[in-house]
Amino acid sequence: MVSQKGDILERRFYFLAGDALSNSTIGMASAWLATSIVDPTWHILTAMLTGMAAGMGLSLILMPLFVSLFGAMEVMLPVMLTAMLAGMVFGMLDAMHVQTFLEVLLGGGLVGILVLMLTYAADAGIHSKNS
């Protein structure tokens, strides 16, 4: 009984940590890629769309690694959203002013964690409707 409980807790921690790692990494990478591509002279809308496309493209390349370790839909959905949003936001910001590398990484990681929390909230909402 105790070992079964321990196994459930260990499993829960593994996936929580995996979700956080996947989303923060993809958020950072997408934000970095968006700011690497976008030039501060670009129009804000072009920068936003380019950042979004870059983020989503990058997530498709990196996603299989995280999927294979931490889950299918539970990884794919938040990670794609993170990549899209981090790419959009940081592409747009880069068209407005220059950001430091650290700002981009921290901001991208934060987008990933926020998206993950919103996804958990949506999941909890759907389950509460079920019950």
Binding site: P64, S68, L69, G71, A72, M73, L77, M80, A122, D123
Partner: protein, 201 residues
């Protein structure tokens, strides 16, 4: 035999187990709970590389089918360790070679994201299922919730050449094939779910 589907899954068999480690570990408790319902003569559709076999309750009488010989070749090692009757056969769900009403239950696991014609496939399952027989499904489907529905629509064309379609309405397809839905239980969002249905008498 649908040759293009067979080729797709033969190709995917080489990296399928690598990709399935995380998903299978995550879904293990829910699959175990669903498969615990297995009783009587059971048809398991889309056996793949046999990742689900460790979740089968022991001592059952199961026929497992898959369209891909390469997938089943990998499944045979796991099948050999199963304590019970487990017969694996290469077969296309659209052309089931079993007599009418020959199974008490049909079980699927991440199957109807990939069957080329899901309603025809489900109708074929109803044919081989006894009247009143149970259909147990563990499936991922499309979503009705924004922005997840948008994400799944975007991913589907990118993914389906090597794997499943992400945006199918499998619950609606089960109803269209003539089954009566008994229970739908969402496991992750409204995307990963178990569906329990019966074949009407």
């Amino acid at each position: 035999m649908d040759e293009s589907t067979k080729r797709k899954w033969d190709f995917s068999s080489s990296f399928y187990d690598l990709m399935a480690y995380g998903p299978e570990r995550r879904w293990a408790p829910d699959k175990r709970n669903l498969f615990a319902n297995m009783q009587g003569k059971v048809l398991f559709v889309a056996m793949g590389t046999g990742q689900d076999i460790p979740f089968f309750p022991p001592g059952r009488d199961i026929v497992g089918i898959d369209i891909s010989p390469q997938m089943l070749a990998r499944a045979r090692t796991r099948a050999a360790n199963y304590v019970g009757l487990l017969d694996l056969q290469v077969m296309d769900i659209h052309k089931l070679e079993f007599p009418d009403h020959s199974f008490d239950q049909v079980v699927t696991s991440c199957t109807f994201c990939s069957v080329p014609n899901p309603i025809a496939g489900l109708t074929a399952l109803r044919r081989v299922l006894k009247a009143g027989g149970m259909l147990y499904m563990f499936e991922h489907t499309g979503s009705h919730v924004f922005p997840f529905n948008l994400m799944l629509d975007v991913m589907t064309p990118l993914w389906k050449s090597i794997g499943p379609e992400m945006n199918r309405d499998t619950v609606a397809n089960v109803k269209k094939a003539g089954f009566e839905i008994q229970q739908v239980n969402n496991i992750y969002l409204d995307v990963v779910k178990t569906i329990i249905a019966t074949s009407p008498a």
